[in-house]
Chain length 526, copies 2
């Protein structure tokens, strides 16, 4: 039998419409019920029909298109003339809906094992005390990545996928074998990822035990990982390299310039990721280390690192001149609110960045951020915006991010930040099907006793509108609500339904006498 040509998704689809960054337009949810089909070959959305509001109409659609369902719960027909398709439905009973996959625009894969461990530190002492010692353990000078790197990288990919992250901009470490391993694992698991070998060669800042030997060595090692990543995924369909100077203080001017040139030597230029203005002490340090530069942003600009494909993480303390420069270079910003609060870095004025027309996405910044969940970043982005609002001279509430706007940043915003605004982040014809299926729990479905529900903590009482369900999901949702995740049209994660075991058993009942089976099940303890 031929593999199915299309996958038809049926049910409720929720996304955030595109809105220009500085338009000031209000973000509203785009909610549709219908069918959407994805080419299994290209992984892209081929079409949708929001008029398909019932199972009957779905059946009609299949008839009209000449599609034959080869799996799923729509009746299978034996007609070789028809095109084989697969059907995936969002459960109405469980308030299921398809949502664009989350895009994590800033995450240190290597730091995942330290999640939640930061004591009372702030950025610079946190690096020294917690981060450099962990990262340095991912290489031992040999050509093989240590087991520790494998364990951490497998885990972080598993955790981010289970939280609905379909695309991540990862920092690895300075080690070539471990960085290559991260790329191999993302490709294997099917998670869209930009993989960055960290460059840090400045002996005045970096510790002796964890540093590139020289600017030349830093560039050579970076080139080696780029070559590897392009060899395992030549078209960059799933994984692609990203140039990653850790941040200005860790890099010599030679390596900064070299990395800028390296990125520009490709067509299209390689993506670049780094940190900027996370913490006031760090900003002061940059001023001291780069006396010739007029600002932190200027340091990157002078070295060819401020490009339309550059992701700047944090940007908490930018000056107006820096924002102007970043905007003029079309560089992007990754807002990492959980991390900024956890490390006490400050309250990033996201509204100001957006008003300036800068593209902003969300980052978990594991492990400065304590959670690999972009939904947690959504929550923290909203909370932080309210505190910015509270701290502001004029309390207009204008700084507040709405739930809808924060979800926009987590999807469309992130897509812009990774320079894929036309490829991912929404449900449009031609876009890759990078999506998640979310389900919520109905209070009415069970007694108050059954609180051990694998459906998670979102309680739907029955009177909620879709907008209110989404608010409840944002504030109380977690990985338990993520039932399935697709990247490039491929199913890359599915949450096992422990509660279906019982029904699986019952599904077998008809083939043997019912009374005998039920005795047996009782005897087995069901």
């Amino acid at each position: 039998m031929m593999p199915p040509v299309y996958t038809i998704f049926y049910g409720t689809f929720i996304q955030l419409p595109r809105i220009p960054a500085s338009s000031g337009q209000k973000h509203v949810l785009d909610i549709n019920h219908g069918a959407l089909w994805v080419s299994n070959e290209s992984g892209r959305v081929e079409g949708f029909d929001w008029g398909v509001c019932t199972e009957e109409k779905l059946h009609d659609l299949l008839q009209d298109k000449g599609w034959r369902v080869v799996s799923g719960d729509v009746e299978e027909e034996e007609d070789g003339e028809k095109t084989a398709v697969r059907v995936v439905k969002a459960s109405e009973k469980r308030h299921g809906f398809f949502f664009p996959g989350f895009i994590d625009t800033h995450i240190h894969a290597s730091q995942y094992p330290n999640s939640g461990i930061f004591g009372s530190s702030t950025l610079l002492d946190w690096l020294e005390k917690y981060t450099f010692p962990l990262e340095s353990s991912y290489g031992d000078g040999s050509d093989v990545a240590p087991q520790k790197a494998l364990t951490a990288y497998e885990k972080v990919i598993a955790r981010t996928l289970s939280n609905g992250t379909t695309c991540a901009a990862y920092y690895a470490t300075i080690h070539v074998p471990a960085t290559n391993l991260l790329a191999d694992l993302c490709l294997k698991r099917g998670q869209r990822a930009f993989i960055g070998r960290i460059c840090m060669d400045n002996p005045d800042f970096c510790p002796d035990y964890y540093r590139d030997a020289s600017a030349e060595e830093s560039l050579r090692a970076t080139e080696a990982t780029i070559a590897h990543i392009r060899s395992i995924d030549p078209a960059g369909r799933v994984v692609a390299p990203i140039i990653t100077p850790r941040f200005a203080p860790t890099c010599s001017q030679i390596s900064l310039s070299g990395l800028g040139k390296l990125a520009a030597s490709f067509d299209p230029p390689l993506r670049i990721q780094t940190h900027i203005s996370e913490n006031k002490n760090e900003v002061a340090l940059v001023r001291e280390l780069f006396p010739d530069s007029t600002s932190y942003a200027d340091v990157y600009d002078r070295h060819g690192l401020l490009t339309p494909r550059t992701i700047l993480a944090h940007a908490v303390h930018l000056t107006p001149a820096e924002r102007l420069l970043i905007h003029s270079r079309e560089a992007k910003i990754s807002h990492c609110p959980a991390s900024n609060s956890a490390l006490g870095s400050g309250l990033c004025p996201v509204r100001t960045l957006l008003d300036d027309g800068i593209a902003v996405g969300l980052g978990t910044d594991v492990s400065g951020g304590y959670s690999p969940s972009v939904l947690e970043a959504v929550r923290q982005a909203i909370l932080v915006s309210r505190l910015v609002s509270y701290s502001a001279e004029q309390q207009t509430g204008r700084e507040n991010l709405s739930v809808e706007e924060a979800l926009y940043l987590a999807t469309r915003g992130g897509a812009k930040v990774v320079d894929m605004a036309d490829q991912i982040g929404g449900f449009e014809v031609g876009m890759f099907w990078d999506a998640q299926l979310i389900e919520l729990s109905s209070v009415e479905d069970r007694s108050a006793e059954t609180i051990n529900d694998p459906q998670g903590n979102v309680d739907i009482f029955g009177w909620e509108s879709w907008e209110e369900k989404i608010q409840k999901w944002v504030w109380s949702g977690d990985d338990r609500n993520v039932k399935a995740v697709w990247v490039n049209g491929e199913l890359v994660y599915q949450r096992s339904q422990k509660e279906t075991r019982k029904s699986v058993v019952h599904a077998n009942i008809p083939v043997v006498p019912r009374s005998w089976v039920s005795f047996l099940l009782r005897w087995l303890g069901f």
Copy 2:
């Protein structure tokens, strides 16, 4: 067979030692491995032995004490002379530990269905738009609480218990039947609770559709709930009434005075709970409504409501004079960081309150707060303290709450706030066994594929100290880590272990031929 006289808890016990509020002493975890025994009759800790560091020593302890294990996995002996005991162990493999139950010092049970729904509102418009309409639906003038109240109250108790809350100071609504129902349900489920019928009779602030008809009616209805609660639990072993003027703007001066006198008419005086200085507009409103009072705190003081048994929720914007007054009256404060950030109320300067010697506990403030989890309140308390620190003129980092200090507030602090500092909040002889059993996940225990783990999101890699495990629990833990909860020595919640179903089946194998059973299991889809 006699029911067991004692329950022996064996494993790791972690608690926060008592420290005077303004001592400035550093909070550290008190970590012990050993055995602790609880009288099943009194529900109190009768003794402990931290020298019991192995199963062998546990066996010796049982021998020495003349204890016979009647259930649990220690070998049962048939010796009628011995005292029957039960043994509960914390799994070492799963990093299990006993921890004092969480105390939620401020939670609106009635608002639970609205969790996560607050749009972009702030306190006063939030009340009007979301809260009053929901609360008003819990009574219809009849003597019976509507189904809606039953559903909400069953759910909020189930959710708070599953998150480890052993004690809660609940706000209900103005309705007597529904308030009494909440008390009945807490008693039935065994959750320690203070139950407050809300008093609100000021027609200038309260809506017509949701208001006490008069001050007299407000007092009469309050007395009715007090009588009911004392009738169902005369000793106040599980539930007790708490006088609850909603907050100054909702109450006439007559009702405020009447409530103060009502509380004082009991011996000991009844507990009181209300709100104070949550939001700047609210503070201005109180100034306007009570022109004779010198401050918000003074309003309560003048009406006999500022007592050692008073819980003041929020306290974000207190003046130094108010803090002095509150301290002199020994009133307590419930810090609700998640709510304060969500409604943009501001950053409560907890360090300042603590330095002033005021007792502080944590509150979830559902549904101004979006989560019924005190662990979430712990997280938000830490984040908010870092932002206070960041906003301060002098960035000394002195405002930062450590993980240990925030956990202290959630247990010992809460115990002080509900005036039970000698009864709950720690593991001391004579204290009630109000506790939770926490378990974490080992990364090494399973492949990276098994991410659908009912153990939750805390990943222990194996190198972590207990202090680091606790940090990981605080930052990534949720209800999945709460395996069991006890109040007054009674098991009131146990998380079902879906993953044990398989082992339950295997446990039955020996009684029939192994090959036949394994065929059967395969056929049944196991």
